[in-house]
Symmetry: C2
């Protein structure tokens, strides 16, 4: 297959979406926004040898590549609209490309995300970058900088799950929290690091006293493991608590970004691509 | 530097843009669309060893990475609004990352493109993917599927230029053509391949009888060389012809995508990442 033929295959797998005036095949995709909406934009890279291994099948890599960005849309209370997928692969992997897009589209259909475009290239290792556009009612996006002293800290699901090829982005929960939660972030790099980021952005400190553990998880993994893709959020006193979430602590006065677990300082040490690793 | 420190450096280099409600630092960027506008989306990858070499300096790679996507916005008559830049680099290249974003922002400021977000990761080779969002008045985007029999074919500038680190995206020309040209595409993979794509999308054939050559360029390079980043467009009879452009031929009846040069069939053979190369 040459490039035009591969793109034609992808176009057949992709489905058009509402408000996508023009999808795959031109220089740009065209999207017509609804009046009164804010648009959310996020992108996430997945690289062979870093985020997945060549033995993982193409469809699960494609699904996961989209899921990671959808989790960011969920964390801001958005509804996904469309994505652009950039993919670079070695020679003679045309069938892998098709498998990748089959997996991506499986999740895209379940979440009403159109595949509107992207870019294909060659490279020595597999590389992908998925950009997702989502929408929220004007001014209603959940941000990480709104936590206030006295807010309760909640997390969805359980933490420290073993690496799983399936990610279930918490889109319904995120939408339910929009307009209720004071702040929100997705736990993609470990509870301690993501709670540190939320508290830092909000200019507050956080104290936690319990962590809902996944089956077989250690506390260390649940605190610093990463890749849980649950939502971590804060609720003001008296707010309605959505089902499937657990209170883990409280926002307090203190050094911005400071964390305590059961009264003791807790260092944020989740996944950081650029940090020097402990020896 | 750890990841938070690098992101803080990038945030200082980046400038905020109008209608960017929230930029670098949260799960997603927030953009508030103007009423009556259509949004354009494109992304382009640049990979070390394929699109540039490690000896090229970081700033020119960053500038070029943005320029390639801006050229797609130009080809649809859009005005750039913001970009997301995803970048993966080997260890100990933190200063390279900063250089990359300095170069990207140099062009971003010249073209009023805000840097609203992106993603950083580690990889063995340098990889980047830049997504640009642009805007056009509702329904006024230039597309590649509108060429009609009898239209004249034009190209901006001269073709077959040697590889140059500087790309000057034809944003002003694209905006001037919106509402005038019947179709447009940017010459990024070679005149013959891009004209073939335009004619194929429009369901027409094309005959060309002259090609404006860059200084020192061969006809073969001008036809099939790629990376010129000029605009190739069609005008209906009697339309105003913008300065700095040359008529190169005419849209005719025939097999969709068929090309002729001076009456002889011309095979499209520009840059295709996936085509088998001639031996």
């Amino acid at each position: 297959m040459n490039e035009l033929e591969i793109i034609e295959r992808i176009r057949c797998i992709a489905s058009a979406g509402p408000r996508i005036e023009l999808g795959i095949g031109d220089d740009c995709a065209i999207y017509r926004p609804r009046p009164g909406e804010d648009l959310l934009f996020t992108s996430d890279q997945m690289i062979e040898g870093v985020h997945f291994l060549s033995k993982h099948n193409a469809a699960s890599v494609g699904e996961r590549a989209l899921a990671r960005s959808l989790s960011d849309i969920a964390a801001m209370g958005g509804e996904p609209r469309f994505c652009l997928a950039s993919l670079a692969v070695p020679r003679r992997m045309e069938t892998w490309i098709v498998g990748f897009f089959r997996g991506l589209m499986r999740l895209a259909r379940r979440t009403s995300t159109a595949l509107a475009g992207g870019d294909l290239a060659r490279s020595k290792i597999i590389y992908c970058d998925v950009m997702v556009c989502g929408a929220v009612a004007r001014g209603k996006a959940l941000r990480r900088d709104g936590a206030r002293v006295g807010d309760a800290i909640y997390v969805s699901g359980r933490l420290g799950k073993p690496w799983d090829r399936r990610i279930n982005p918490r889109l319904d929960l995120g939408r339910a929290l929009a307009g209720i939660a004071t702040s929100c972030i997705d736990v993609s790099d470990g509870l301690s690091l993501d709670l540190h980021r939320l508290a830092l952005a909000s200019g507050v400190a956080a104290e936690i006293d319990r962590v809902p553990l996944a089956r077989g998880a250690t506390l260390d993994r649940a605190l610093h493991g990463g890749e849980d893709y649950e939502l971590l959020f804060t609720l003001p006193p008296g707010a309605h608590v959505p089902a499937g979430t657990s209170r883990i602590g409280t926002i307090v006065k203190g050094r911005a970004g400071g964390l305590k677990l059961n009264g003791r300082p807790l260092a944020p040490r989740g996944w950081d691509h650029f940090a020097k690793r402990a020896p």
